[in-house]
């Protein structure tokens, strides 16, 4: 049998030692009527066959390598340096478990410490944890922190928050008494300041702001924080944008979350990614999940340990800050290596390239008759293109005729929004691809009309 290294004589010797005649005797605690009579529903396959089955399934998909990908909405086709894969394939990293024995886990622990440090540097906040499942679940936990810290139950959120994030936040709040209140998006694509002022009250725990928001628009965080005053600001940010954009800590965010996918993680049909969650110092003990701290060993040597563990489920059980146990450590390691490889200037270059190419794409697309930018505010690597006809049909046609994944139709989230196409442009998209999409849109739109 695959992966079982016992021989028939090993088994006999072991059964003799235990003092039973058969393995079935070891299962005698299972009542007779619960025992399965047969369990035969899938033949085994050898490694070559298995690989060929899996290759067949993989090839039945349209991956980004074959089709220029302008899809975003929370997952992005960024370039991943070869060294990220090479290092993460080291099995000392990927076959280890949670660093419960720090003496033999310094590699994982130090890497997490470096991850925390990099997230603090990007967000401008003081403390980061070791990772969450993904950006949306990190935001769910962030809202719980804000409400529990302020002891307030009303949570404002910008309507320009990703519906993917909002859906998960709603699930996290399902059983509590926290009320989610939307704040309108103004015509320019940013949070409507007067709507924010009117909805702000003494019971408001926080404002949840995505920046850049779901439509790619960069919000004026500082102006919104001015309106909020002492009310907490929770920001959800694409970490790849933070090589360029002002860090949320600099405009008054107390909590910053997001998804590390744009930092060296393959799109993998939605996961695994890693959520990051950083907070200001006063919220440190409200953080969920694992945190690594620096200390010394009994000889005075520097080392790293899991710390502040009394927050966690294995100690505080029902009084823990969260139930999270396994996180996304290996994904966080990928992001750590990605950031280190790109470094100070490299990450900014990637951010700038996304910004520049997105603007070139927008400009080219808007030259086509009937296409226009929905919002006038500054944007980062995504924008909403208003199309002259149904965006979903248009995108489908662009793929069928030109093999380009044109963007995410907003009708997926809001059936009334039939003409909006959310286009995402990373540093990977070439000039030709940008021109190609623009031309394809023009031709298809002309044809459909």
């Amino acid at each position: 049998m695959a992966y079982i290294p016992l021989t028939a004589s090993d088994r006999e010797q072991m059964l003799r030692k235990i003092g039973v005649a058969s393995v079935d005797e070891l299962f005698s605690d299972i009542p007779e009527d619960l025992r399965l009579k047969s369990f035969d529903w899938l033949p085994p396959s050898d490694e070559r066959e298995t690989l060929s089955i899996l290759k067949g399934l993989a090839e039945a998909n349209r991956a980004a390598a074959e089709a220029p990908c302008f899809l975003g909405a929370g997952a992005y086709d960024h370039y991943i340096p070869a060294a990220v894969d090479a290092i993460c394939s080291r099995s000392e990293f990927y076959t280890a478990y949670t660093p419960y024995q720090p003496e033999v886990s310094q590699g994982t622990l130090q890497a997490i410490f470096e991850f925390q440090s990099l997230i603090c540097a990007l967000t401008g906040l003081a403390v980061s944890n070791a990772s969450m499942y993904d950006g949306p679940s990190a935001l769910g936990e962030a809202v719980l922190i804000a409400s529990s810290y302020t002891k307030k139950q009303k949570v404002l959120y910008a309507e320009s928050l990703s519906p993917v994030y909002l859906a998960v936040v709603r699930t996290y709040l399902e059983s509590g008494s926290i009320e989610l209140i939307p704040v309108k998006t103004a015509r320019d694509g940013r949070v409507d300041p007067s709507d924010l002022s009117s909805k702000l009250s003494a019971d408001t725990a926080c404002l949840v702001l995505q920046n850049p928001n779901f439509f790619g628009v960069i919000e004026d965080g500082a102006a919104l924080k001015k309106i909020l005053g002492p009310t907490m600001l929770v920001v959800c940010a694409d970490p790849n944008s933070l090589g360029l954009l002002a860090p949320p800590g600099s405009y008054g965010a107390s909590i910053c979350v997001g998804d590390c996918q744009p930092l060296g993680l393959p799109m993998s049909f939605g996961g695994p990614y890693a959520g990051y969650l950083a907070v200001s110092n006063d919220l440190m003990r409200k953080l969920p999940g694992r945190i690594v701290g620096r200390t010394v060993d009994c000889d005075g040597k520097t080392g790293f340990v899991l710390t502040l563990q009394t927050r966690e489920q294995h100690i505080k059980r029902e009084k823990a800050t969260s139930n999270i146990c396994s996180n996304q450590a290996l994904c966080a390691l990928r992001s750590t290596i990605y950031i280190c490889l790109l470094g100070k200037t490299g990450l900014k270059n990637v951010s700038c390239a996304c910004l520049d190419k997105a603007h070139r794409m927008a400009e080219a697309a808007c030259k086509n008759k009937g296409f226009s930018l929905r919002y006038t505010s500054p944007f980062y690597k995504e924008f909403v293109l208003d199309c002259p006809s149904n965006a979903a049909k248009l995108a489908e046609e662009v793929f069928n005729r030109f093999g380009i994944l044109a963007g995410v139709p907003l009708s997926r989230f809001n059936p009334q929004d039939s003409n909006g196409l959310l286009i995402s442009v990373t540093e990977k998209r070439t000039g030709d691809e940008i021109v190609g999409l623009s031309a394809a849109l023009a031709q298809v739109a002309g044809g459909l009309k």
Binding site: R285, Q309, T310, I315, K316
Partner: protein, 123 residues
């Protein structure tokens, strides 16, 4: 330590309202790394949780021996929680309560009764 009264859950209270935990309790907890204290001015009933005392791998609540208001808290525990280990009866006090019903003090255990209970409950 006969100048104060005790709870079975190991808290002590002095006639002036200072509250702390016993030497027995701090030994059971081990190295204390963090103390979460209540806000000043909070009203509490006898037996209400006042906060948390945490060691590396354990966390326990401590309770108010009497009803009243939290008058002061021991701010120095923020930077040096180890005071609870080092001087549980002196500088390691936790909060000071202004009792609203001083008669409750009489319902508490005296030192000898507490010590006997702690001994019996210990290992």
């Amino acid at each position: 330590m006969k100048d104060r009264k005790y709870l079975k859950s190991h808290e002590w209270i002095k006639p002036d309202g200072h509250v702390g935990i016993s030497d027995f309790a701090q030994k059971e907890l081990g190295d204390i790394v963090f103390v979460e204290l209540p806000e000043v001015g909070r009203s509490v009933n006898k037996g209400d949780s006042l906060g948390m005392i945490e060691s590396v791998k354990a966390s326990s609540e401590f309770y108010s021996p009497v009803s009243g208001k939290v008058a002061t808290i021991n701010d120095s525990l923020t930077a040096t929680p180890e005071l609870v280990n080092q001087q549980p009866y002196e500088n390691g006090w936790l909060v000071q309560i202004t009792p609203s019903n001083p008669a409750e003090m009489n319902e508490l255990l005296d030192y000898d009764t507490y010590a006997a209970l702690a001994e019996a409950g210990g290992h």
